[in-house]
C-alpha cells in the first residue's frame, strides 16, 4: 500500500497543495460544501493536476455536502463537458454522508477506496477543531467527577475541574447544576459525587461513540493478530499519549473480571492529530483498515481531548486509560454483565 500523505505541497501544478496524496492519486476534500464555486474550483484543481501526467488521478471527496444530489450530478456532467475526456476519465467524485458508507465511484482503486475514511477524518480535524456542544461538555465534566469518585480522590473545586476539562466556569457551573441530585457540595465550594448518576451515565453510554470520536478498525486478514501482540507493539512505541482501555484496561483495575479471552482492543488517544489514528494502527498491524458500517471490528480508537488524561502507567511501561473509559468500552462491546461487575467493584462502599 502506498503511504498516504496529508497536506502535500506539489510542484505541479506549482503551489498546489493537495489535501492528501496516495501514490499518483490526490484527494481534495470539501467538508460540508454548500458553495458551487468552491466545488468547481476544486474540480478544476484536480483536473489540472491529472492533466500533468497520464498516470495521475484526482479524487474529489465531498463530506456531508449541503448541495443536493441532482445539483452535484449537474456539476459533474458540466465538468465532463469542459474537461478533456482523457483527463476526465481519471477524475472521480466521492460523496460521504456521516455514518453511511461513501458513495464511491467505481473507477476508484481498492486502495483509494480504503483511504477515503482516513482522508475525510484528517480533513474534518483541520476544518473544524471540535468544539464540544452543550451535552458533550456535560459529559466531559461528568467523567472526571466519576474518576474522582471511583478513585476516592476527594472533592474538587471548580478551578480544578476547569483545569482538568478545559471548560470555563459557567460551563462547569451548568453541568454541576444538572448533576445536583448526585452531588455533595462542601462548605469550601468543592464538589464530589454522592452516588452514581445513573441517568446521566446511560445518556453518556448512548452517545459515547460520538463523544469520544470512536474509530473502528477491522482486520480482513483472516489471521488476526491477538490483542496481546498488538499490545506488545504498542508498548514498543513508548507513547505516553496512548492508553489501553476496554477489557484489558478493566482487567488492570480488576484482575478478577469475569471474562474469558479478549474480544477486542480499545485504545484511548490523547489529543490525536488528524490522521494519527491510522498511522498508529499501521504501526500495530498494517492489515487493519477502517471498518465499514456493520463490519466486525477488532480495534477501537477513542479520542480524549481534555487537558488531564488520568492515564496510569504501570511498571512495565504500559499506559492504562481511566476507569470511566474502560467502563464505557465494556458497554460499547455489549459486555453488560462485565460492565456491571466492574462498576460494582469500582463503586465506593460508603460516601458522606
Amino acid at each position: 500500500m502506498s503511504a498516504l500523505r496529508f497536506d502535500v505541497l506539489l510542484d505541479d501544478p506549482p503551489g498546489f497543495r493537495a489535501d492528501a496524496v496516495l501514490g499518483d492519486s490526490i484527494f481534495e476534500v470539501l467538508i460540508e460544501p454548500r458553495d458551487l464555486r468552491r466545488l468547481r474550483a476544486s474540480l478544476l484543481d484536480i483536473a489540472r493536476f491529472s492533466a500533468g501526467k497520464p498516470e495521475r488521478r484526482g479524487i474529489l471527496v465531498l463530506a456531508d455536502p449541503q448541495i443536493s444530489e441532482p445539483r452535484l450530478s449537474d456539476e459533474w456532467t458540466g465538468a465532463r463537458a469542459v474537461i478533456r475526456p482523457e483527463v476526465f476519465k481519471r477524475l472521480a467524485m466521492v460523496v460521504c454522508h456521516d455514518g453511511k458508507p461513501p458513495q464511491t465511484d467505481e473507477s476508484l482503486t481498492p486502495e483509494e477506496r480504503d483511504h477515503i475514511a482516513a482522508v475525510v477524518e484528517h480533513e474534518r480535524g483541520h476544518a473544524v477543531h471540535k468544539v464540544g456542544g452543550r451535552s458533550e461538555a456535560f459529559f466531559d465534566i461528568l467523567r472526571p467527577l466519576l474518576i474522582a469518585w471511583f478513585r476516592g480522590s476527594g472533592p474538587l473545586t471548580s478551578k480544578e475541574l476547569s483545569a482538568q476539562t478545559g471548560f470555563s466556569y459557567p460551563t462547569i457551573s451548568n453541568a454541576l447544576r444538572e448533576l445536583e441530585p448526585y452531588l455533595v457540595r462542601h462548605s469550601d465550594r468543592r464538589v464530589e459525587l454522592r452516588a452514581f448518576p445513573k441517568d446521566a451515565w446511560f445518556r453518556l453510554v448512548a452517545q459515547a461513540e460520538n463523544v469520544r470520536s470512536t474509530m473502528a478498525f477491522a482486520d480482513p486478514s483472516m489471521r488476526p493478530r491477538s490483542p496481546e501482540v498488538l499490545l506488545q507493539r504498542l508498548r514498543e512505541l513508548k507513547r505516553s499519549d496512548i492508553a489501553v482501555g476496554g477489557v484489558l484496561g478493566a482487567r488492570h483495575y480488576l484482575p478478577g473480571l469475569d471474562l474469558i479471552g479478549t474480544p477486542r482492543l480499545d485504545l484511548v488517544v490523547h489529543n490525536p492529530r488528524p490522521g494519527g489514528s491510522h498511522e498508529l494502527l499501521r504501526k500495530l498491524d498494517p492489515a487493519l483498515k477502517p471498518a465499514k458500517r456493520g463490519e466486525p471490528a477488532r480495534v477501537f480508537v477513542h479520542s480524549l481531548s481534555r487537558p488531564v488524561t488520568f492515564f496510569q502507567k504501570s511498571d512495565d511501561g504500559m499506559v492504562w486509560a481511566d476507569e470511566v473509559e474502560c467502563l464505557l468500552d465494556l458497554h460499547e462491546a455489549r459486555l453488560e454483565s462485565q460492565a456491571l461487575e466492574f462498576l460494582e467493584r469500582l463503586t465506593p462502599r460508603s460516601k458522606p
Partner: protein, 306 residues
C-alpha cells in the same frame, strides 16, 4: 500444472544428484516454499511443473552442473524439448542461444499434466552481473546455465532440507528477490497461460511474495527486514542502499492496482495457496503487512544509513 508433494519431489531430486554435488544445490521457487511450509503435511501439494535447482557458488557451478547432468542423463532422465533452442550447441554457439538443462525423471510421460522437470540455474558471478548465461559443455554438446540478477539473494543463507544434504531457499529471501526483480508492474506476460489466464510476470512473482507472507503467518514481519538487510549488504555491497529503498515499489504498485492485484490473487489461488484459499481482501491484508512491517522497516534501515 502438476500437483506435486514437495517432500517427495525434493527427496527424489536429492537422491538423483551425485552426493558430492548436493552441497552445491539450492532448490528455489514454489517447491522450496511448499517444502518449507508443508513439509509436515503430506496432504498439501504444490502446483508447479518446474523444480528450479540453483548451483552455487558460481565457481563450482559448471563442474557441479556437468556432474549432475551427466549422472541424470545416464540414469535415463529425459531432456525437455521445447522452446527456441532445443538442440545442444557447440563452442561457436552464442551462449544465450544454448538450451537450458531441463530434465524429466526417467519413465515419466512428458506430455502428462502431472509431469515435472528440474532446471539447472546458477548464481551470478558477481554483484554487477545481470541476467546472463554460462556455458556448460557436455558430451552431447553445449548447454547453458541461466542466471538472474537477484538469484544471489534467493540462494542467500539457504536452509538444509532435512537430512537430504541439499538446501532450499529461505521463503523470505525468495520474497525479497521477487520484490527486487519487480520494482514496477511490467507489461510482459508469462510465456504460457496460468490456470487458463494470461498473466503478467510481475503479478505472478509479486503474488508469490503475498503467498509466502500468507503461509508464513507471522505476528511480526519486521525480522524479515533485518535478514533482507544482511542479504542485500552481502550480495550487493555497493548498491544495497538503492535496492533497499526501491524494494517496495512494485508491491505498492500491485496493491494500488485492482486489476493487477486480482491477477496476483489468481496465481496464488491456483498456486501456493491452492490448498488453503482465502478471500482477496485477506491476501491484500497480507500484502499490507509485508509492506508495513518488512518493507518499511527495511526502508527505515536504509534511510538511517544515508
Amino acid at each position: 500444472m502438476s500437483q506435486i508433494s514437495p517432500s517427495k519431489v525434493l527427496a527424489e531430486v536429492a537422491a538423483a544428484v551425485p552426493p558430492a554435488c548436493r552441497e552445491n544445490v539450492v532448490i528455489i521457487g514454489s517447491l522450496a516454499a511448499g517444502y518449507h511450509f508443508f513439509q509436515n503435511d503430506e496432504s498439501k501439494a504444490v502446483r508447479t511443473k518446474d523444480v528450479d535447482c540453483v548451483l552455487e557458488p558460481f565457481h563450482a557451478a559448471v563442474g557441479a552442473g556437468q556432474t549432475i547432468t551427466r549422472q541424470l542423463l545416464d540414469a535415463g532422465w529425459q531432456r525437455m524439448l521445447t522452446g527456441a533452442h532445443q538442440n545442444p550447441g557447440d563452442a561457436r554457439t552464442p551462449v544465450d542461444e544454448l538450451p537450458a538443462v531441463r530434465l524429466y525423471p526417467p519413465g515419466v510421460d512428458t506430455a502428462s499434466e502431472e509431469a515435472w522437470f528440474i532446471e539447472l540455474l546458477t548464481v551470478p558471478e558477481s554483484a554487477e552481473v545481470g541476467n546472463k548465461w554460462t556455458r556448460l559443455p557436455l558430451a552431447e554438446g553445449h548447454f547453458g546455465l541461466p542466471t538472474f540478477r537477484f538469484l544471489a539473494i534467493t540462494a542467500f543463507d539457504p536452509l538444509p532440507a532435512g537430512n537430504l544434504d541439499i538446501r532450499y531457499a529461505r521463503p523470505e529471501m525468495m520474497a525479497l528477490a521477487n520484490l527486487l526483480e519487480h520494482p514496477e508492474i511490467k507489461p510482459e506476460t508469462m510465456s504460457s497461460m496460468f490456470a487458463g489466464r494470461s498473466i503478467k510476470r510481475s503479478n505472478k512473482d509479486l503474488g508469490r511474495v503475498l503467498a509466502i507472507a500468507t503461509l508464513a503467518d507471522l505476528d511480526d514481519y519486521r525480522p524479515w527486514a533485518k535478514s533482507w538487510l544482511e542479504a542485500l549488504q552481502t550480495c550487493f555491497p555497493s548498491e544495497w542502499l538503492q535496492l533497499a529503498l526501491r524494494a517496495g515499489a512494485g508491491l505498492r504498485a500491485l496493491l494500488g492496482s485492482g486489476n493487477d492485484f486480482e491477477e496476483a490473487y489468481h496465481t496464488c489461488m491456483n498456486g501456493l495457496l491452492a490448498s488453503q484459499p482465502l478471500p482477496l481482501e485477506a491476501l491484500r491484508a497480507a500484502g499490507n503487512r509485508v509492506l508495513g512491517d518488512a518493507v518499511e522497516t527495511l526502508e527505515d534501515f536504509a534511510n538511517e544509513s544515508r
